[in-house]
Point group: C2
Amino acid sequence: MEVLRVSGTSRPNAIAGAVAALLRSQGQVDIQAIGPTAVNQTVKALAIARGYLHGDALDLYTQPEFVKLDVQQEERTAVRFHVRAVPLPQV
Amino acid sequence: MEVLRVSGTSRPNAIAGAVAALLRSQGQVDIQAIGPTAVNQTVKALAIARGYLHGDALDLYTQPEFVKLDVQQEERTAVRFHVRAVPLPQV
């Protein structure tokens, strides 16, 4: 599965576009964020991506979990968001 | 539906306990967070709550969206997390 890495300086609209494209083509994507700012940018991106997907009759949901990473020989805790596409409920 | 309001000073473990209890009893809960720190605390709480629910053979997923709020006569954008309980997949 594709893993997008989000930093605190990533633009939510750009992440949202990548997430929507991957959900359309593959149905799922993982996003990895280290630090509070990156986590916030990821959540904003997911809220925006939901809007992008509505035209395709799709929505998304996510499940966050903690993962341990080695970054420059230091252990860091990241948040990994498992994201999956689902059909948009019919109105 | 119950709406939990999370601030930047909310403790993730406490939020996680409340979320897990509401998901066990009601199957869903909304969480509202204003500001990057509150959003980060909410995501941490959801990751922790997933662990709390595993003993009940439950998991959770969430869908974030932006909402406009009036806070002291100023318009603020909050993130609202719709959270739903799902059965834990059998291994």
